[in-house]
């Protein structure tokens, strides 16, 4: 067997392996951590590195136009609709890339960040489980499987949010998170049951091809959108998010950004693919719902961020505002989807929204890592007590400036490119929307300038005299994210054409996704 055959084989099996390798690694980790701590850390990084390389192999093939399906457990590939299957189109591949990058960098960051904690074997096990759950959510083509992976993600992430069990607020945030996730997931299961009762199928493509948009389907749509939006942190169901983000260890917050975005991916998959067949009945109203949710989310997010004084809680409200942009962009795409005169606008809005998913993960993630670095160095999270840290932590300051500019959409960072697309396309739909978007972007800049002033500038405070720069592994993790941000900012055309546009087209041309499983399906241009 030569190398080309092996790569073909790996490519064919990569959807299953991408989930199986972190899962296997998760359960080997406690066995290995009996040997040595360093061996365990290296093992976890290698596991995620292997997963990441498989993800890039799969994604490079998917972005060139092939949709991959993987049917579990059958020798002949007959009867795909009754088996559990993974279906990877460009949108899934896009999300998988984000998740795996976040997990890999979080693990590198944790090497120094979590060094002084005990029970790290469980910490790494849960991180790998959470990664497997996120990747599964984004790869699966089966609704019940989606529910299972959603629960795996929420259980492991809730346990990780409460990892510092000696802190009362952390445990409380973990409890809130698990309650909210469970209620949401149970309503998702209820809507899955509604689908199964009507169409005798759990397969997303099968349901999408048969959907009639009956009364029960409308109920299922309401339940799915509400539950997934709650897990994605949409206002006014966002209140768990600042608690959980603010009290979790920073490395976990970094992955949690990916977990919320996986739920957001669920919203888009439901609206575009599953209800794609009913699009002419529902697209306008559902699209406007997403747009209005997005506007409220971004305005309330920044308004709350301005008055926060806790470092991570403030960034968490900023993250809430960023979620509004994605909803706004993709909702605009859904509103104008059937209007042939506005195809270009719709595509631009979708590109902006999807590109912003990646930018948000990187920008907000970098800010969370910086917040963690400051906590590591000073053991302090309140902005009122910080000050003058730029003197002692030069690299961290530079990374914070990069994250600040990127998250508030200042040119030439990556945040600007995606926000520009969103502003312009929403202006065509309704100028007021773009005014709100620009306004909240300006307020985001104000919020983070405040953080920069109060944490990094000002006179040297005597209590922070002995503060040193953080260890290398944390600098490497932050530097890697900052480098990606700058590259994306300088060459947005490269990213948008090669990665974002296929993903946007995959959502718009939902028929291709369905035809991959049910070849007789007609429709969905």
């Amino acid at each position: 067997m030569n190398v080309a055959d092996l790569i073909d084989l790996l490519l064919q099996h990569s959807p299953a392996l991408i989930v199986a390798i972190p899962l296997l690694g998760a359960f080997i980790t406690p066995l290995i951590s009996r040997l040595n701590d360093k061996v365990r850390n290296v093992f976890v990084i290698l596991t995620l590195g292997l997963t990441a390389s498989l993800v890039f192999l799969l994604a490079s093939d998917v972005f060139s136009g092939n949709i991959h399906t993987y049917i579990f457990g059958s020798q002949d590939l007959a009867l795909p609709v009754v088996r559990i299957l993974f279906e990877v189109d460009a949108m899934s591949a896009f999300m998988v890339i984000i998740s795996v990058i976040l997990s890999l960098i979080a693990v590198i960051y944790s090497w120094s960040f979590m060094k002084e904690n005990t029970g790290l074997d469980k910490y790494y096990t849960l991180i790998l489980l959470m990664t497997a759950g996120m990747l599964g959510m984004e790869l699966t083509g089966d609704l019940f499987n989606f529910f299972v992976f959603l629960e795996i993600t929420s259980i492991s992430s809730a346990a990780l949010v409460a990892f510092w069990t000696n802190k009362a607020k952390s445990v409380e945030a973990g409890f809130k998170y698990i309650v909210i996730s469970t209620i949401g997931a149970l309503f998702i299961l209820f809507s899955i049951a509604l689908f199964y009762g009507q169409y005798n199928a759990l397969n997303m493509a099968m349901i999408a091809s048969a959907i009639q948009y009956t009364f029960l389907d409308k109920i299922a749509l309401v339940l799915l959108i509400a539950a997934l939006a709650m897990k994605a942190g949409v206002v006014p169901m966002h209140m768990w998010l600042p608690d959980a983000y603010g009290k979790a260890p920073s490395s976990i917050t970094f992955i949690l950004v990916g977990a919320t975005q996986a739920s957001l991916y669920g919203v888009f998959r439901v609206c575009f693919t599953i209800y794609g067949g009913a699009i002419n009945l529902s697209s306008i109203s559902v699209g406007w719902i997403l747009v209005i949710m997005g506007i409220i989310t971004m305005l309330l997010g920044v308004a709350m961020a301005i008055i926060q004084t806790d470092f991570k809680r403030l960034i968490a409200f900023g993250a809430v505002a960023e979620i509004g942009y994605m909803l706004l962009g993709i909702g605009t795409g859904l509103v104008v989807m059937l209007n042939p005169e506005m195809t270009a606008t719709g595509l631009a809005a979708m590109k902006g929204g999807i590109f912003h998913i990646m930018n948000d993960a990187l920008d907000v993630g970098l800010l969370f890592l910086v917040a963690g670095a400051i906590y590591y160095a000073t053991k302090e999270t309140s902005l009122n007590k910080l000050g003058g840290l730029a003197r002692n932590m030069k690299y961290t300051t530079v990374f914070f400036i990069i994250g600040l500019l990127a998250v508030s959409g200042m040119p030439p960072m990556n945040g600007f490119a995606s926000k520009l697309l969103i502003y312009e396309s929403t202006y065509h739909l309704n100028p007021i929307l773009s005014i709100f978007a620009i306004l909240s972007s300006i307020m985001l800049l104000a919020v983070f300038v405040k953080v920069f002033h109060s944490a990094f500038l000002g006179p040297a405070l005597p209590k922070f005299e002995n503060v040193k720069e953080v260890p290398k592994s944390m600098l490497i993790a932050m530097g890697a994210i900052a480098t990606i941000i700058i590259i994306f900012g300088l060459f947005p055309e490269l990213i948008v054409n090669n990665i974002v546009e296929p993903a946007a087209n995959a959502l718009i041309n939902y028929g291709d996704y369905i035809r991959e499983v049910i070849p007789s399906f007609t429709g969905g241009a």
Binding site: H13, A16, L17, A20, L23, L24, A26, F27, I28, T29, P30, L31, R34, Y70, I71, F72, G73, S74, Q75
Partner: protein, 158 residues
Amino acid sequence: MSGMSKIVKTISGIAFPFITIYGLYVISHGHLTPGGGFQGGAIVASGCAMVLVSYGSIWIMDRVKEKNLSILESLGAVCFILLALLGLGFGTVFFNNFLVGTNSLFGVVPAVGSGLADINTGGVIPLMNFAVGLKVIAGLFGIVLVMAYAIRTKEGKK
């Protein structure tokens, strides 16, 4: 948590083997009758929990270590995923039932028609049931043990 009265200890000591045997039966017949790894494992673990309640957590914690249980749990999960990966190695896809039809370990194809099938059927499904059963026994018992430990330290504080 200290132990309960002698009557409870004796009765639970008598009942424990039966519960365990029944649980193991449910695990090993998972591919033939309703039940399987999780259900059988839950039965065995509830038997263990009964012993924990009647004999007290101090008595149990001298004999069973939570660390060993978590290793057993990991082993069960690793076995499960390795069996699924073997499907990829021997057969065609992940989770492929590569043992069925080989007439070796659990590989006999059952006769069509009514009547219970042999236990020697089902391919990898019984093996996966064993793995899941191991994981569930260790996992659930571990959870109960840790919770009992947490309550004990709380009582100790008072």
